[in-house]
Symmetry: C2
Subunit: 327 residues, 2 copies
């Protein structure tokens, strides 16, 4: 299997993509990784490391799309960027997936434009992987589609169900619609219509509320991308906020350094699932191909985990399963 | 000052409203409280307590609106309910405010229908009080208006600013619009239009993201009621979720009972601001009168705090200030 990785994306390139790719090929002997980016920068970084040169290759792509560039504009004008080059390689079948910790919007735009959509899919979607007390689960859409029509929720539900089942190893994943209350008649007209359409799915548990996310009442939480993005970022801010609340709590209680250290250690262990490095990255579901995006601050570990997750998606043929389920 | 309290609302009536009202008149000698509800039930509870009988009165209202009843239907058919009776008393000037821990929808419907709206207000709104590292702040709308037009955001911003300034004692409160990114061109068409209208306000800080709530980047976070309700309930679920994550973390680290106890104590102290009892309740801003709603699970302390908060709203003439600011 060949996975192409954006060597010029994210806050810590080329170090994170290069080191993460080396870790991935070390872990999975069936894997070949192609680093896509400006070859001088990539090769300079590679010189610092020992690695299997037959399974870690470089594809030159001189242009870099910045994290804050306008996605559509960047994809149009930077044809020699790592993102456009990598997705072009995937389109031509030169690799089984392309992954990036770079500009999410540019990656989504290039994926949709160059690879197209799977049969039966109106719009590709991006899912956020959320820590629940039952383990990681999906909140989707997480920002690719700010407004979602009722029929799109049904497609998202199916794509999410397949991903959670195949990649997160959850049996018979349940789907819930995020709303202001559990009753069928709650919410906007759009949500009421979505509820009706979702009832056709055997695994639809009905409306769920914001308080049901952490308890894992559903395995796939459906919402529009505006809500998903706000909830995602709110959730991501919990560990840091908590650190500051706890610092204050420890002061208020007049505890010492030893006790503070213990509490800090426990919190770190308890919130390990909140670490974006553990998740690695998430796929754009519904694209005719496999592209995944990681957090801008991805570490080498995050890149490694994203590569291994992509390999699992390829192994499990999730796109074929999505197309079959939407027929 | 006379505050009327729903003695037949919430999960713990008549105990919570009765005990909370006694605590409130004990704390504030200028306060008279009227308990509104079925008099046999209320008097039975009152017999259990010592209190100043001149400043704690009972208004009989035989009907009770259940927590899950359809709001519009309940308000129409239960004219002798504590909610309709209490708001009717307020309308006639027999009390300065009416508070309830009961059915939020029924309280909002009766408030809007019986009291009407303040001059210049299109739609009353309900705000959620949120713990941030800077102290409690507002996220609004929290569920009264699932869809919000751009001009309504401007009204919400002004009402929120006045409440945060007068009641939460924050100087020059800043207003932010919850969105998927900071840039002006982010979000749905509705949010883009709202951004433009909000620019007329001197205290508008622009778009803010989900990750900015806990850090208190704004003092008033504007959103539609669908987002506000989901974020509110998600936030409320943090302490319980955390308890379970931490239990697992303590197990994983193999810590003992003493250490677990310490961590639990620190968490409790650190998350004190998440306790809905501390907040007490929130007003329906924009109503021509003062009605406030508390959490269904309100304790006596919550009711006491809601009464004291209502008294502060009356003292500070926040409705007059809202009308003046919207002119």
């Amino acid at each position: 299997m060949i996975i192409a990785v954006d060597a010029a994306g994210g806050d810590y390139y080329p170090k994170s993509p290069v080191e993460g790719s080396i870790q991935a090929i070390d872990e999975d002997p069936n894997l070949t990784v192609i680093l896509v980016g400006p070859e001088d920068i990539v090769n300079n970084e590679l010189e610092e490391h020992d690695y299997d040169q037959e399974r870690l290759l470089v594809q030159h792509a001189p242009e870099v799309i910045g994290m804050d560039e306008s996605p559509a504009q960047a994809v149009k004008t930077k044809q020699k960027s790592s993102i456009v080059t990598g997705i072009g390689m995937h389109k031509k079948g030169k690799c089984d997936a392309f992954l990036s910790a770079g500009n999410t919007g540019a990656l989504l735009a290039a994926s949709t434009f160059l690879l197209g959509k799977l049969e039966g899919v109106s719009r590709p979607t991006i899912a956020a992987i959320y820590p629940t007390i039952k383990g990681p689960r999906l909140v989707m859409d997480a920002g690719a589609n700010l407004e979602v029509r009722p029929s799109m929720f049904v497609e998202f539900a199916e794509m999410g169900r397949i991903f959670v089942n195949e990649i997160m190893d959850v049996d018979d994943p349940q789907v819930g619609l995020l709303n202001v209350g559990e009753e069928e008649e709650k919410g906007t007209d759009n949500l009421k219509k979505a509820y009706k359409e979702l009832q056709a799915l055997s695994n639809f548990v009905g409306n769920v509320e914001g308080g049901d996310i952490f308890s894992g009442k559903a395995d796939v939480f459906l919402c529009d991308g505006l809500i998903g993005n706000i909830v995602l970022k709110f959730g991501e801010s919990i560990p840091e906020a908590l650190e500051r609340f706890v610092k204050k709590g420890i002061n208020d209680l007049g505890l010492g350094a030893e006790e503070a250290k213990l509490v800090s250690k426990v919190l770190k262990a308890s919130l390990a699932e909140f670490d974006p490095d553990k998740v690695g990255g998430v796929p754009f579901l519904g694209v005719d191909g496999l592209t995944m995006v990681g957090h801008g601050s991805s570490s080498p570990l995050a890149i490694k985990n994203m590569i291994l997750s992509a390999a699992k998606c390829v192994d499990h043929n999730i796109n074929e399963k999505i197309v079959a389920s939407l027929k």
